[in-house]
């Protein structure tokens, strides 16, 4: 589904990603973990077209996405749930979801607002409230629901657990597990490595702009060296 080869990204002369290659197969959940500043968000924003690649290629479903504009990438079904939720805070929950469907641009969708409400019942209760008045967890659910409304063929999740209470994190991840079981293709960035390895089939570890390790999530989680070296304190949470 997603095929990234030798991707290099620079910001004002600083190299953020150095020759990153990564694949996500259809129906697979792949986690990208690594310390702060490793380049995880840069990678996901480059896939979304918000950041442009200096060299290398990004293919989705065999099509070259490397130099597409961000709104075109979204319209083609590669949808990002951005870090920090980024809901439309002055608009209602329902309007946020309706806006998510903008990305369809005539592509068929087998999911509508009702299905999102089924996945996150709290959103139905709050459907006429302004998104800015929701709690952080509810906003995260809304951001995921909004992306789902655009019928993603590849869902990019940037730190969905960031700043949420543990009980809310488990609700969000339960929903992600449901999506996984329905066959959604997901690339997940997560600081909480335990959660990420638990949910994903495979994982890549990114450090200082390079992929330093990759493998099956279960193997990585079992490898004490990996846990101690790259996953640090998070692994013990």
């Amino acid at each position: 589904m997603l095929d990234i080869a030798d991707l290099e990204v620079r910001y004002d002369g600083i190299v953020a990603l150095r020759g990153v290659s990564l694949t996500v197969g259809a129906g697979e959940v792949v986690a990208l973990i690594g310390p702060n500043g490793a380049g995880k968000s840069t990678l996901i924003n480059t896939i979304s077209g918000l950041v442009s690649a200096a060299s290398g290629t990004i293919h989705v479903g065999g099509e070259d996405f490397t130099h597409l504009r961000p709104w075109t990438i979204s319209a083609k079904g590669v949808l990002q749930v951005p870090e920090g939720r980024q809901v439309f805070s002055d608009m209602t929950v329902l309007e946020n979801l309706q806006l998510g469907a903008t990305a369809l641009r005539g592509r068929p969708s087998d999911l509508d607002v009702k299905d999102v409400f089924e996945l996150f019942p709290i959103l139905q209760e709050r459907s006429t409230q302004l998104a800015g008045s929701l709690s952080g967890g509810q906003q995260q659910m809304l951001a995921i629901g909004r992306a789902l409304m655009g019928a993603p063929k590849l869902l990019l999740l940037d730190e969905p657990s960031l700043g949420l209470a543990p009980v809310v994190i488990s609700q969000v991840f339960a929903a992600l597990r449901t999506l996984k079981e329905k066959g959604m293709t997901i690339l997940l960035i997560e600081q909480n490595a335990t959660l990420a390895l638990d949910l994903s089939n495979r994982a890549y570890i990114l450090d200082q702009g390079r992929i330093v390790l990759s493998g099956n999530s279960a193997d990585l989680a079992a490898d004490e060296g990996v846990v101690a070296h790259y996953l640090g304190v998070d692994a013990e949470v």
Partner: protein, 296 residues
């Protein structure tokens, strides 16, 4: 007499609303003060005048004014603001570049009109006076009021009841998130500038008709009034701009009627000063102004 003045004020306020709502729409969506807005307004008046002068009916002049002013406004965004916006923090740059655009547009019309004041031919709007309850309303006033109400209602319907309007509000709310749901912000901005310019152009025609005085400088006082109105109403707030326009129009009419002539402007701006003293964010402004709030 008082009632008559209030009615006149309401009509003037309606026209101010056309001007100020468009001005505030741009501030709300991009945080830019478009100082060329007065020049767009003036362009509308000239376009309608030359259409009528060439033998076209007034309604054609009105439509031409709306379309050409709208397109001019889109051009201003592309030339003056787009690159600045990409560079990030550009509020002051935008003030300068739009001031420049304003001067260019004014100079062009000064050249075309040969620095003359032009007037619509007599009877462009037939002089018909309606009388009821002791009030006196001219056909022109009726046209002004109806045009202002209809245009503002169309704009509100568009922003709040159509999916395209929803996209405009989404870009205003959070440009990055809007991009990620597949909205092209540039297209949305162009559309917003078109609406803003079209409103200003419509206001220009109505003012040109009402005062029968069209000249290349006519936009300048309105820019000042528009600025006062959007601050009074709350920066970025469309309902605030509407309310403030009506207050401003009525205040101005009353001041002209009952105060020594030199004091009109002083009175209006003093009143504004007092209101802002009590409510610094404007009548309907919020801490981070308006329904069309700025980006985070």
């Amino acid at each position: 007499m008082l009632l008559q003045q209030l009615l006149n004020g309401l009509v003037v306020g309606g026209v101010y609303a056309l001007f100020a709502v468009g001005f505030n729409l741009i501030f709300g969506i991009q945080r830019f003060l478009n100082l060329a807005h007065g020049a767009v307004f003036m362009t509308g008046a000239f376009v309608a005048y030359y259409t009528v002068e060439a033998g076209g009916p007034l309604i054609l002049g009105f439509l031409a004014a709306i379309i050409i002013s709208g397109l001019l406004s889109v051009l201003i965004e592309i030339v003056c603001f787009r690159r600045l916006r990409k560079s990030g923090d550009a509020e002051f740059g935008a003030i300068l570049s739009s001031m420049g655009a304003s001067l260019v547009i004014m100079t062009v019309w000064q050249w075309i009109s040969k620095t003359q004041v032009v007037r619509f031919p007599f009877d462009t709007v037939p002089v018909v006076i309606f009388r009821f309850w002791g009030l006196r309303v001219s056909l022109l006033q009726v046209i002004m009021m109806v045009a202002a109400v209809v245009i503002v209602m169309i704009m509100a319907w568009f922003l709040y009841r159509t999916s395209f309007g929803r996209q405009v509000r989404a870009v205003t709310d959070n440009e990055k998130a809007a991009t990620l749901v597949g909205v092209n912000p540039n297209r949305t901005y162009s559309l917003t500038y078109f609406i803003s310019g079209a409103l200003a152009g419509a206001a220009g025609v109505l003012v040109g008709l009402a005062f029968n005085n069209i000249n290349y400088m006519m936009g300048e006082p309105y820019l000042l009034f528009g600025f006062a109105i959007i601050i009074l109403g709350g920066l970025g707030s469309i309902p605030g701009a509407l309310l403030a326009s009506l207050i401003f129009g009525m205040g101005q009419t009353l001041a002209i009627a009952y105060l020594p002539s030199g004091l009109t402007t002083a009175f209006i701006f003093s009143a504004m000063f007092l209101i802002l003293l009590v409510k610094p964010t404007g009548l309907m402004g919020r801490e981070e102004a308006g329904i069309l709030r700025g980006r985070r």
